[in-house]
Protein backbone atom coordinates (compact mmCIF):
# COMPACT_ATOMS: atom_id res chain seq x y z
CA UNK A 1 0.00 0.00 0.00
CA UNK A 2 2.80 2.39 0.90
CA UNK A 3 4.50 2.26 -2.51
CA UNK A 4 1.07 2.90 -3.99
CA UNK A 5 0.64 6.04 -1.92
CA UNK A 6 4.16 7.13 -2.72
CA UNK A 7 3.54 6.57 -6.41
CA UNK A 8 0.37 8.60 -6.31
CA UNK A 9 2.15 11.35 -4.36
CA UNK A 10 4.87 11.66 -6.96
CA UNK A 11 2.29 11.70 -9.70
CA UNK A 12 0.37 14.57 -8.11
CA UNK A 13 3.46 16.63 -7.38
CA UNK A 14 4.83 16.20 -10.87
CA UNK A 15 1.54 17.17 -12.38
CA UNK A 16 1.59 20.42 -10.43
CA UNK A 17 5.19 21.17 -11.33
CA UNK A 18 4.59 20.49 -15.00
CA UNK A 19 1.49 22.62 -15.07
CA UNK A 20 3.42 25.50 -13.65
CA UNK A 21 6.10 25.15 -16.32
CA UNK A 22 3.41 25.09 -18.94
CA UNK A 23 2.04 28.35 -17.64
CA UNK A 24 5.49 29.92 -17.55
CA UNK A 25 5.17 30.93 -21.19
CA UNK A 26 1.97 32.78 -20.50
CA UNK A 27 3.62 34.44 -17.59
CA UNK A 28 6.54 35.51 -19.75
CA UNK A 29 4.27 36.87 -22.46
CA UNK A 30 2.33 38.71 -19.82
CA UNK A 31 5.46 40.08 -18.22
CA UNK A 32 6.84 41.16 -21.56
CA UNK A 33 3.69 42.91 -22.46
CA UNK A 34 3.26 44.51 -19.06
CA UNK A 35 6.80 45.72 -18.81
CA UNK A 36 7.04 47.10 -22.28
CA UNK A 37 3.60 48.62 -21.94
CA UNK A 38 4.44 50.08 -18.59
CA UNK A 39 7.59 51.64 -19.95
CA UNK A 40 5.66 52.84 -22.96
CA UNK A 41 2.91 54.45 -20.92
CA UNK A 42 4.55 57.85 -20.49
CA UNK A 43 5.06 58.16 -24.22
CA UNK A 44 1.51 57.18 -25.00
CA UNK A 45 0.28 59.57 -22.41
CA UNK A 46 2.42 62.50 -23.44
CA UNK A 47 2.42 62.00 -27.18
CA UNK A 48 -0.71 60.03 -27.80
CA UNK A 49 -0.94 56.83 -29.80
CA UNK A 50 -2.72 58.48 -32.68
CA UNK A 51 -0.07 61.10 -33.10
CA UNK A 52 2.70 58.57 -32.91
CA UNK A 53 1.11 56.39 -35.56
CA UNK A 54 0.28 59.23 -37.93
CA UNK A 55 3.35 61.42 -37.64
CA UNK A 56 6.35 60.82 -39.81
CA UNK A 57 8.72 63.07 -37.92
CA UNK A 58 10.98 61.40 -35.39
CA UNK A 59 12.99 64.08 -33.66
CA UNK A 60 13.40 63.10 -30.03
CA UNK A 61 15.54 66.14 -29.36
CA UNK A 62 12.56 68.19 -30.39
CA UNK A 63 10.00 66.00 -28.69
CA UNK A 64 8.63 64.72 -31.98
CA UNK A 65 7.95 61.01 -31.93
CA UNK A 66 6.17 59.95 -35.10
CA UNK A 67 6.83 56.40 -36.12
CA UNK A 68 4.83 56.24 -39.32
CA UNK A 69 8.05 56.40 -41.32
CA UNK A 70 9.35 53.39 -39.42
CA UNK A 71 6.14 51.45 -39.96
CA UNK A 72 6.43 52.22 -43.64
CA UNK A 73 10.07 51.20 -43.56
CA UNK A 74 9.31 47.90 -41.87
CA UNK A 75 6.46 47.28 -44.26
CA UNK A 76 8.39 48.09 -47.38
CA UNK A 77 11.48 46.16 -46.49
CA UNK A 78 9.32 43.14 -45.70
CA UNK A 79 7.45 43.56 -48.94
CA UNK A 80 10.73 43.71 -50.80
CA UNK A 81 11.97 40.62 -49.06
CA UNK A 82 8.77 38.81 -49.94
CA UNK A 83 9.10 39.78 -53.58
CA UNK A 84 12.63 38.54 -53.79
CA UNK A 85 12.54 35.69 -51.33
CA UNK A 86 9.17 34.03 -51.81
CA UNK A 87 9.57 32.90 -55.42
CA UNK A 88 13.00 31.63 -54.59
CA UNK A 89 11.83 29.89 -51.45
CA UNK A 90 8.79 28.30 -53.05
CA UNK A 91 10.75 27.25 -56.07
CA UNK A 92 13.31 25.66 -53.83
CA UNK A 93 10.62 23.97 -51.77
CA UNK A 94 8.97 22.42 -54.79
CA UNK A 95 12.33 21.58 -56.27
CA UNK A 96 13.44 19.81 -53.13
CA UNK A 97 10.29 17.86 -52.54
CA UNK A 98 9.31 16.92 -56.05
CA UNK A 99 12.05 17.38 -58.57
CA UNK A 100 15.51 17.14 -57.14
CA UNK A 101 17.19 13.76 -57.43
CA UNK A 102 18.26 12.43 -54.07
CA UNK A 103 21.86 13.45 -54.40
CA UNK A 104 20.93 16.98 -55.37
CA UNK A 105 18.51 17.27 -52.47
CA UNK A 106 21.30 16.08 -50.25
CA UNK A 107 23.23 19.17 -51.26
CA UNK A 108 20.41 21.68 -51.40
CA UNK A 109 18.71 20.87 -48.13
CA UNK A 110 21.76 21.24 -45.89
CA UNK A 111 22.54 24.46 -47.74
CA UNK A 112 19.18 25.84 -46.76
CA UNK A 113 19.58 24.64 -43.21
CA UNK A 114 22.92 26.37 -43.07
CA UNK A 115 21.40 29.59 -44.38
CA UNK A 116 18.89 29.31 -41.54
CA UNK A 117 21.62 28.92 -38.98
CA UNK A 118 23.86 31.78 -39.99
CA UNK A 119 23.61 34.54 -37.35
CA UNK A 120 21.88 37.69 -38.43
CA UNK A 121 24.89 39.76 -37.54
CA UNK A 122 26.85 37.80 -40.11
CA UNK A 123 24.19 38.59 -42.69
CA UNK A 124 24.45 42.21 -41.63
CA UNK A 125 28.15 42.15 -42.07
CA UNK A 126 27.84 40.45 -45.40
CA UNK A 127 25.23 42.96 -46.45
CA UNK A 128 27.43 45.86 -45.46
CA UNK A 129 30.47 44.66 -47.32
CA UNK A 130 28.92 42.92 -50.31
CA UNK A 131 25.32 43.87 -50.96
CA UNK A 132 25.53 47.58 -50.20
CA UNK A 133 28.40 48.23 -52.61
CA UNK A 134 26.54 46.27 -55.29
CA UNK A 135 23.38 48.24 -54.84
CA UNK A 136 25.38 51.42 -54.86
CA UNK A 137 26.29 50.68 -58.45
CA UNK A 138 22.70 51.31 -59.52
CA UNK A 139 22.81 54.81 -60.99
CA UNK A 140 20.23 56.92 -59.21
CA UNK A 141 20.41 60.25 -57.45
CA UNK A 142 21.32 59.94 -53.81
CA UNK A 143 21.80 56.19 -54.00
CA UNK A 144 24.39 55.17 -51.43
CA UNK A 145 23.66 51.50 -51.39
CA UNK A 146 22.25 51.74 -47.90
CA UNK A 147 18.53 51.42 -48.07
CA UNK A 148 15.48 49.29 -48.59
CA UNK A 149 16.86 47.31 -51.52
CA UNK A 150 19.95 46.11 -49.72
CA UNK A 151 17.91 45.38 -46.64
CA UNK A 152 15.31 43.51 -48.65
CA UNK A 153 17.93 41.38 -50.33
CA UNK A 154 19.56 40.50 -47.04
CA UNK A 155 16.19 39.86 -45.48
CA UNK A 156 15.10 37.75 -48.44
CA UNK A 157 18.08 35.47 -47.90
CA UNK A 158 17.29 35.36 -44.21
CA UNK A 159 13.65 34.35 -44.59
CA UNK A 160 14.34 32.01 -47.48
CA UNK A 161 15.05 29.04 -45.21
CA UNK A 162 11.98 29.68 -43.07
CA UNK A 163 9.63 29.86 -46.01
CA UNK A 164 11.36 27.11 -47.96
CA UNK A 165 11.32 24.74 -45.01
CA UNK A 166 7.73 25.24 -44.02
CA UNK A 167 6.47 25.13 -47.57
CA UNK A 168 8.58 22.10 -48.37
CA UNK A 169 6.95 20.48 -45.39
CA UNK A 170 3.57 21.53 -46.72
CA UNK A 171 4.34 20.13 -50.16
CA UNK A 172 5.75 16.97 -48.68
CA UNK A 173 2.77 16.38 -46.49
CA UNK A 174 0.56 16.29 -49.54
CA UNK A 175 -0.39 12.62 -49.47
CA UNK A 176 1.65 10.46 -51.81
CA UNK A 177 -1.63 9.17 -53.09
CA UNK A 178 -2.42 12.46 -54.84
CA UNK A 179 0.72 12.18 -56.85
CA UNK A 180 0.25 8.54 -57.71
CA UNK A 181 -3.39 9.15 -58.48
CA UNK A 182 -2.57 11.91 -60.90
CA UNK A 183 0.30 10.11 -62.57
CA UNK A 184 -1.85 7.03 -62.96
CA UNK A 185 -4.32 9.14 -64.91
CA UNK A 186 -1.62 9.97 -67.39
CA UNK A 187 -0.63 13.39 -66.08
CA UNK A 188 2.94 14.54 -66.59
CA UNK A 189 4.96 15.35 -63.52
CA UNK A 190 4.56 19.07 -64.03
CA UNK A 191 0.83 18.76 -64.48
CA UNK A 192 0.72 16.76 -61.29
CA UNK A 193 2.72 19.37 -59.41
CA UNK A 194 0.87 22.39 -60.72
CA UNK A 195 -2.66 21.01 -60.64
CA UNK A 196 -2.69 18.75 -57.66
CA UNK A 197 0.27 19.12 -55.37
CA UNK A 198 0.62 22.89 -55.16
CA UNK A 199 -3.12 23.52 -54.78
CA UNK A 200 -3.22 20.91 -52.05
CA UNK A 201 -0.28 22.49 -50.28
CA UNK A 202 -1.57 26.03 -50.69
CA UNK A 203 -2.73 26.70 -47.14
CA UNK A 204 0.60 25.48 -45.81
CA UNK A 205 2.49 27.57 -48.34
CA UNK A 206 0.52 30.68 -47.52
CA UNK A 207 1.10 30.31 -43.85
CA UNK A 208 4.78 29.69 -44.56
CA UNK A 209 4.88 33.02 -46.34
CA UNK A 210 3.07 34.77 -43.55
CA UNK A 211 5.35 33.25 -40.96
CA UNK A 212 8.30 34.41 -43.04
CA UNK A 213 6.73 37.84 -43.00
CA UNK A 214 6.62 37.77 -39.21
CA UNK A 215 10.25 36.77 -39.16
CA UNK A 216 11.14 39.60 -41.48
CA UNK A 217 9.28 42.18 -39.43
CA UNK A 218 11.17 41.12 -36.34
CA UNK A 219 14.68 41.16 -37.76
CA UNK A 220 16.89 43.79 -36.16
CA UNK A 221 20.64 43.66 -36.28
CA UNK A 222 21.08 42.87 -39.93
CA UNK A 223 18.63 45.63 -40.77
CA UNK A 224 20.37 48.38 -38.92
CA UNK A 225 23.59 47.40 -40.60
CA UNK A 226 22.36 47.91 -44.15
CA UNK A 227 19.21 49.98 -44.28
CA UNK A 228 20.67 53.42 -43.62
CA UNK A 229 18.41 54.04 -40.63
CA UNK A 230 17.19 57.44 -41.86
CA UNK A 231 13.85 58.38 -40.42
CA UNK A 232 12.09 59.31 -43.61
CA UNK A 233 9.02 58.16 -45.36
CA UNK A 234 10.56 56.29 -48.30
CA UNK A 235 9.79 57.86 -51.66
CA UNK A 236 10.90 56.88 -55.13
CA UNK A 237 14.16 58.60 -55.95
CA UNK A 238 13.49 58.58 -59.69
CA UNK A 239 10.38 58.50 -61.79
CA UNK A 240 10.36 54.72 -61.57
CA UNK A 241 8.14 53.85 -58.60
CA UNK A 242 10.31 50.83 -57.92
CA UNK A 243 13.13 53.19 -57.09
CA UNK A 244 11.43 53.65 -53.76
CA UNK A 245 13.54 50.69 -52.75
CA UNK A 246 16.68 52.74 -53.27
CA UNK A 247 15.45 55.04 -50.57
CA UNK A 248 16.83 54.74 -47.07
CA UNK A 249 14.52 53.87 -44.23
CA UNK A 250 14.37 52.70 -40.70
CA UNK A 251 12.51 49.70 -39.34
CA UNK A 252 10.62 49.60 -36.09
CA UNK A 253 13.11 47.12 -34.74
CA UNK A 254 16.00 49.24 -35.92
CA UNK A 255 14.55 52.26 -34.21
CA UNK A 256 14.65 50.46 -30.90
CA UNK A 257 18.08 48.95 -31.29
CA UNK A 258 19.71 52.09 -32.60
CA UNK A 259 18.45 54.48 -29.98
CA UNK A 260 17.73 52.49 -26.86
CA UNK A 261 21.27 53.00 -25.59
CA UNK A 262 21.03 56.75 -25.59
CA UNK A 263 17.45 57.40 -24.77
CA UNK A 264 16.13 58.84 -21.56
CA UNK A 265 12.72 59.95 -20.41
CA UNK A 266 10.03 60.26 -23.01
CA UNK A 267 12.46 59.27 -25.72
CA UNK A 268 13.12 55.95 -24.01
CA UNK A 269 9.43 55.52 -23.37
CA UNK A 270 8.72 56.21 -27.04
CA UNK A 271 11.09 53.42 -27.97
CA UNK A 272 9.21 51.04 -25.69
CA UNK A 273 6.05 52.25 -27.35
CA UNK A 274 7.61 51.32 -30.68
CA UNK A 275 8.20 47.91 -29.17
CA UNK A 276 4.57 47.59 -28.12
CA UNK A 277 3.39 48.49 -31.59
CA UNK A 278 5.82 46.07 -33.17
CA UNK A 279 4.67 43.38 -30.75
CA UNK A 280 1.04 43.89 -31.68
CA UNK A 281 1.83 44.01 -35.39
CA UNK A 282 3.72 40.77 -35.28
CA UNK A 283 1.07 39.08 -33.19
CA UNK A 284 -1.47 40.03 -35.83
CA UNK A 285 0.66 38.62 -38.60
CA UNK A 286 1.47 35.42 -36.75
CA UNK A 287 -2.04 34.75 -35.65
CA UNK A 288 -3.23 35.17 -39.20
CA UNK A 289 -0.60 32.59 -40.20
CA UNK A 290 -1.89 30.30 -37.51
CA UNK A 291 -5.42 30.85 -38.65
CA UNK A 292 -4.50 30.02 -42.23
CA UNK A 293 -2.67 26.94 -41.13
CA UNK A 294 -5.60 25.71 -39.08
CA UNK A 295 -7.95 26.38 -41.93
CA UNK A 296 -5.65 24.39 -44.18
CA UNK A 297 -5.50 21.54 -41.74
CA UNK A 298 -9.25 21.45 -41.49
CA UNK A 299 -10.01 21.21 -45.17
Amino acid sequence: MTPGIRRTGIEKTMKMVLMISALASVLIVLLIFLFTAKEAMPAFREIGIGKMLSDTTWRPGNNQFGILAMIAGSGLVTLGAVFIGVPLALGTAVFLSEIAPLWVAKIVRPSIELLAGIPSVVYGLFGMVVIVPWVRMIPAPGNTGYGLLSASIVLAVMVLPTIANISEFAVRSVPRGYKEGSMALGATKWETISRVIIPAAKPGIISAVVLGLGRALGETIAMIMVIGNSVILPTPVTSNPLSIFLSRARTLTGNIAVEISYATGVHESALFATGVILFILIMLVNSSARFLMRKGARS
Binding site: L102, P175, G177, Y178, E180, A184, G186, P199, A200, S299
Partner: protein
Protein backbone atom coordinates in the same frame (compact mmCIF):
# COMPACT_ATOMS: atom_id res chain seq x y z
CA UNK B 1 -15.65 -23.64 -64.75
CA UNK B 2 -14.17 -20.98 -66.97
CA UNK B 3 -11.17 -21.95 -69.03
CA UNK B 4 -8.19 -19.75 -69.73
CA UNK B 5 -7.81 -21.06 -73.26
CA UNK B 6 -11.13 -19.63 -74.30
CA UNK B 7 -10.37 -16.11 -73.06
CA UNK B 8 -9.15 -13.10 -75.01
CA UNK B 9 -5.88 -11.80 -73.62
CA UNK B 10 -5.80 -8.08 -72.89
CA UNK B 11 -2.49 -7.69 -71.11
CA UNK B 12 0.41 -10.03 -70.93
CA UNK B 13 3.74 -10.23 -69.15
CA UNK B 14 6.40 -12.37 -70.74
CA UNK B 15 9.53 -13.52 -68.93
CA UNK B 16 9.23 -10.37 -66.93
CA UNK B 17 11.83 -9.62 -64.27
CA UNK B 18 11.99 -6.47 -62.18
CA UNK B 19 14.86 -5.24 -60.07
CA UNK B 20 14.93 -2.63 -57.35
CA UNK B 21 18.58 -1.74 -57.76
CA UNK B 22 20.24 -5.10 -57.43
CA UNK B 23 17.34 -6.75 -55.69
CA UNK B 24 15.29 -8.98 -57.94
CA UNK B 25 11.72 -8.41 -56.89
CA UNK B 26 10.04 -10.26 -59.75
CA UNK B 27 11.50 -13.31 -61.38
CA UNK B 28 10.50 -14.41 -64.83
CA UNK B 29 6.82 -13.75 -64.63
CA UNK B 30 4.68 -14.82 -67.56
CA UNK B 31 0.99 -14.24 -67.21
CA UNK B 32 -1.98 -13.28 -69.36
CA UNK B 33 -4.75 -11.05 -68.11
CA UNK B 34 -8.00 -11.98 -69.83
CA UNK B 35 -10.39 -9.37 -71.17
CA UNK B 36 -13.54 -8.57 -69.20
CA UNK B 37 -12.49 -10.74 -66.33
CA UNK B 38 -11.28 -10.01 -62.84
CA UNK B 39 -7.83 -11.37 -62.23
CA UNK B 40 -6.62 -11.46 -58.63
CA UNK B 41 -3.01 -11.53 -57.46
CA UNK B 42 -2.58 -13.17 -54.11
CA UNK B 43 0.44 -14.15 -52.08
CA UNK B 44 2.18 -13.40 -48.83
CA UNK B 45 3.38 -9.89 -48.04
CA UNK B 46 6.38 -8.85 -50.06
CA UNK B 47 5.94 -11.43 -52.79
CA UNK B 48 5.72 -8.72 -55.42
CA UNK B 49 1.99 -8.44 -56.03
CA UNK B 50 1.99 -4.65 -56.04
CA UNK B 51 5.18 -4.52 -58.03
CA UNK B 52 3.72 -6.78 -60.70
CA UNK B 53 0.49 -4.80 -60.83
CA UNK B 54 2.36 -1.55 -61.17
CA UNK B 55 4.35 -2.98 -64.03
CA UNK B 56 1.25 -3.03 -66.17
CA UNK B 57 0.95 0.76 -66.27
CA UNK B 58 4.62 1.44 -65.69
CA UNK B 59 4.05 3.11 -62.34
CA UNK B 60 7.34 1.52 -61.34
CA UNK B 61 9.03 4.00 -63.69
CA UNK B 62 8.51 6.56 -60.94
CA UNK B 63 10.78 4.67 -58.59
CA UNK B 64 14.43 5.43 -59.09
CA UNK B 65 16.70 2.47 -59.67
CA UNK B 66 14.10 0.14 -61.14
CA UNK B 67 15.22 -1.95 -64.09
CA UNK B 68 13.33 -4.66 -65.93
CA UNK B 69 13.84 -7.43 -68.42
CA UNK B 70 11.20 -9.21 -70.42
CA UNK B 71 8.15 -7.57 -71.87
CA UNK B 72 4.70 -6.42 -70.85
CA UNK B 73 2.08 -6.18 -73.57
CA UNK B 74 -1.17 -4.31 -73.83
CA UNK B 75 -3.24 -5.62 -76.70
CA UNK B 76 -0.12 -7.12 -78.13
CA UNK B 77 1.91 -3.93 -78.06
CA UNK B 78 4.99 -3.68 -75.87
CA UNK B 79 4.13 -1.12 -73.19
CA UNK B 80 7.76 -0.11 -72.79
CA UNK B 81 7.61 1.37 -76.26
CA UNK B 82 4.28 3.08 -75.79
CA UNK B 83 3.97 6.66 -74.71
CA UNK B 84 3.65 6.40 -70.96
CA UNK B 85 0.93 9.05 -70.74
CA UNK B 86 -1.12 7.20 -73.33
CA UNK B 87 -0.48 3.90 -71.57
CA UNK B 88 -1.67 5.20 -68.25
CA UNK B 89 -4.73 6.57 -69.94
CA UNK B 90 -5.49 3.08 -71.17
CA UNK B 91 -4.51 1.31 -68.03
CA UNK B 92 -6.11 3.05 -65.07
CA UNK B 93 -5.22 2.49 -61.47
CA UNK B 94 -6.98 2.55 -58.12
CA UNK B 95 -4.94 2.56 -54.95
CA UNK B 96 -5.10 1.02 -51.55
CA UNK B 97 -6.05 4.18 -49.71
CA UNK B 98 -8.70 6.20 -51.46
CA UNK B 99 -6.83 9.23 -52.78
CA UNK B 100 -9.27 11.76 -54.14
CA UNK B 101 -7.67 15.11 -54.89
CA UNK B 102 -8.65 17.95 -52.59
CA UNK B 103 -10.95 19.28 -55.27
CA UNK B 104 -14.64 19.08 -55.88
CA UNK B 105 -16.17 15.76 -56.85
CA UNK B 106 -16.69 17.11 -60.34
CA UNK B 107 -13.13 18.30 -60.70
CA UNK B 108 -11.82 15.01 -59.41
CA UNK B 109 -13.58 13.09 -62.12
CA UNK B 110 -12.91 15.72 -64.76
CA UNK B 111 -9.22 15.86 -63.91
CA UNK B 112 -8.15 13.11 -66.29
CA UNK B 113 -10.30 14.14 -69.26
CA UNK B 114 -9.12 17.73 -68.90
CA UNK B 115 -5.53 16.58 -68.96
CA UNK B 116 -6.15 14.71 -72.12
CA UNK B 117 -7.73 17.63 -73.82
CA UNK B 118 -11.46 17.62 -73.10
CA UNK B 119 -12.24 21.25 -72.26
CA UNK B 120 -15.81 21.66 -73.29
CA UNK B 121 -17.94 22.04 -70.17
CA UNK B 122 -20.93 20.12 -71.40
CA UNK B 123 -18.79 17.26 -72.70
CA UNK B 124 -17.15 17.12 -69.32
CA UNK B 125 -20.47 17.15 -67.51
CA UNK B 126 -21.69 14.22 -69.57
CA UNK B 127 -18.48 12.32 -68.97
CA UNK B 128 -18.51 12.99 -65.25
CA UNK B 129 -22.06 11.83 -64.93
CA UNK B 130 -21.37 8.69 -66.91
CA UNK B 131 -18.30 7.86 -64.90
CA UNK B 132 -19.98 8.46 -61.57
CA UNK B 133 -22.88 6.30 -62.66
CA UNK B 134 -20.60 3.48 -63.66
CA UNK B 135 -18.85 3.77 -60.33
CA UNK B 136 -22.25 3.52 -58.62
CA UNK B 137 -21.73 6.86 -56.93
CA UNK B 138 -23.97 9.12 -58.97
CA UNK B 139 -27.08 8.70 -56.90
CA UNK B 140 -25.27 9.60 -53.71
CA UNK B 141 -23.49 12.70 -54.98
CA UNK B 142 -25.45 14.05 -57.91
CA UNK B 143 -26.82 16.95 -55.91
CA UNK B 144 -23.49 17.90 -54.54
CA UNK B 145 -20.95 17.65 -57.29
CA UNK B 146 -19.20 20.74 -56.04
CA UNK B 147 -18.59 19.41 -52.59
CA UNK B 148 -15.00 18.43 -51.92
CA UNK B 149 -14.10 14.87 -52.75
CA UNK B 150 -12.47 14.64 -49.37
CA UNK B 151 -15.75 15.10 -47.57
CA UNK B 152 -17.03 11.72 -48.71
CA UNK B 153 -16.82 8.58 -46.63
CA UNK B 154 -13.97 6.15 -47.23
CA UNK B 155 -16.03 3.85 -49.39
CA UNK B 156 -17.45 6.72 -51.39
CA UNK B 157 -13.97 8.14 -51.85
CA UNK B 158 -12.80 4.85 -53.24
CA UNK B 159 -15.72 4.80 -55.66
CA UNK B 160 -14.87 8.37 -56.60
CA UNK B 161 -11.35 7.21 -57.38
CA UNK B 162 -12.78 4.47 -59.51
CA UNK B 163 -14.96 7.02 -61.30
CA UNK B 164 -11.89 9.16 -61.82
CA UNK B 165 -10.06 6.22 -63.33
CA UNK B 166 -13.02 5.35 -65.53
CA UNK B 167 -13.40 8.90 -66.78
CA UNK B 168 -10.36 8.64 -69.04
CA UNK B 169 -11.94 5.55 -70.57
CA UNK B 170 -9.27 3.00 -69.89
CA UNK B 171 -9.39 -0.57 -71.07
CA UNK B 172 -7.81 -2.02 -68.00
CA UNK B 173 -8.22 -1.04 -64.35
CA UNK B 174 -5.54 -2.04 -61.90
CA UNK B 175 -6.52 -2.10 -58.25
CA UNK B 176 -4.01 -2.48 -55.46
CA UNK B 177 -5.84 -3.71 -52.38
CA UNK B 178 -8.69 -1.31 -53.16
CA UNK B 179 -10.75 -2.31 -50.15
CA UNK B 180 -8.17 -2.96 -47.48
CA UNK B 181 -8.63 0.48 -45.96
CA UNK B 182 -12.39 0.18 -45.93
CA UNK B 183 -14.88 -1.26 -43.51
CA UNK B 184 -16.80 -4.41 -44.44
CA UNK B 185 -19.86 -2.56 -45.72
CA UNK B 186 -17.82 -0.38 -48.04
CA UNK B 187 -15.77 -3.40 -49.07
CA UNK B 188 -18.96 -5.11 -50.10
CA UNK B 189 -19.95 -2.17 -52.25
CA UNK B 190 -16.61 -2.09 -53.97
CA UNK B 191 -16.73 -5.81 -54.65
CA UNK B 192 -20.17 -5.50 -56.15
CA UNK B 193 -18.98 -2.60 -58.23
CA UNK B 194 -16.08 -4.63 -59.56
CA UNK B 195 -18.48 -7.31 -60.66
CA UNK B 196 -20.43 -4.64 -62.47
CA UNK B 197 -17.34 -3.09 -64.03
CA UNK B 198 -15.95 -6.24 -65.51
CA UNK B 199 -18.65 -6.10 -68.15
CA UNK B 200 -16.82 -3.17 -69.69
CA UNK B 201 -13.31 -3.35 -68.35
CA UNK B 202 -10.54 -5.75 -67.70
CA UNK B 203 -9.66 -5.71 -64.05
CA UNK B 204 -6.56 -6.82 -62.19
CA UNK B 205 -6.64 -6.65 -58.44
CA UNK B 206 -4.09 -7.23 -55.73
CA UNK B 207 -5.49 -8.49 -52.49
CA UNK B 208 -3.98 -9.95 -49.37
CA UNK B 209 -7.39 -11.28 -48.53
CA UNK B 210 -7.83 -14.72 -49.95
CA UNK B 211 -11.53 -14.69 -49.22
CA UNK B 212 -11.84 -11.56 -51.28
CA UNK B 213 -9.93 -13.12 -54.14
CA UNK B 214 -12.24 -16.11 -53.88
CA UNK B 215 -15.32 -13.94 -53.88
CA UNK B 216 -14.64 -11.51 -56.64
CA UNK B 217 -12.17 -12.88 -59.09
CA UNK B 218 -12.50 -15.10 -62.10
CA UNK B 219 -8.83 -15.92 -62.25
CA UNK B 220 -6.28 -16.03 -59.51
CA UNK B 221 -2.52 -15.78 -59.70
CA UNK B 222 -0.52 -16.92 -56.73
CA UNK B 223 2.91 -15.38 -56.20
CA UNK B 224 5.54 -16.46 -53.75
CA UNK B 225 9.09 -15.45 -53.02
CA UNK B 226 11.81 -17.97 -53.65
CA UNK B 227 14.90 -18.50 -51.53
CA UNK B 228 16.36 -15.25 -52.92
CA UNK B 229 13.26 -13.28 -51.92
CA UNK B 230 12.38 -12.81 -55.58
CA UNK B 231 8.70 -13.04 -56.44
CA UNK B 232 7.70 -15.96 -58.66
CA UNK B 233 4.39 -16.82 -60.22
CA UNK B 234 3.57 -20.17 -58.69
CA UNK B 235 0.16 -20.83 -60.10
CA UNK B 236 -2.37 -19.13 -62.28
CA UNK B 237 -5.80 -20.38 -63.15
CA UNK B 238 -9.53 -20.08 -62.65
CA UNK B 239 -10.20 -18.94 -59.11
CA UNK B 240 -12.45 -21.87 -58.36
CA UNK B 241 -9.79 -24.28 -59.36
CA UNK B 242 -7.17 -22.50 -57.28
CA UNK B 243 -9.43 -22.63 -54.26
CA UNK B 244 -10.54 -26.22 -54.60
CA UNK B 245 -7.84 -28.06 -56.43
CA UNK B 246 -4.66 -26.02 -56.67
CA UNK B 247 -2.08 -27.91 -58.62
CA UNK B 248 0.91 -26.64 -56.69
CA UNK B 249 1.27 -27.73 -53.11
CA UNK B 250 2.62 -24.28 -52.15
CA UNK B 251 -0.60 -22.71 -53.36
CA UNK B 252 -2.57 -25.18 -51.32
CA UNK B 253 -0.41 -24.52 -48.28
CA UNK B 254 -0.90 -20.81 -48.63
CA UNK B 255 -4.63 -20.76 -49.16
CA UNK B 256 -5.29 -23.27 -46.44
CA UNK B 257 -3.15 -21.48 -43.91
CA UNK B 258 -0.17 -23.77 -43.80
CA UNK B 259 3.11 -21.99 -44.11
CA UNK B 260 6.80 -22.77 -44.02
Amino acid sequence: MSKLETEVTRMKAEDYCLFYGNFRALNNISIEIPTNRITAFIGPSGCGKSTLLRSFNRMNDLIPGVTTTGTVYLDGRNVAQEDVVELRKNVGMVFQRPNPFPKSIFDNVAYGPRLHGTRNRSDLAVLVEKSLKRAALWEEVKDDLHKSGMSLSGGQQQRLCIARAIAVEPEVILMDEPASALDPVATLRIEELMNELKKNYTIAIVTHNMQQAGRVSDYTAFLLTDENRAGNLIEFGPTKQIFTTPSDSRTEDYISGRFG
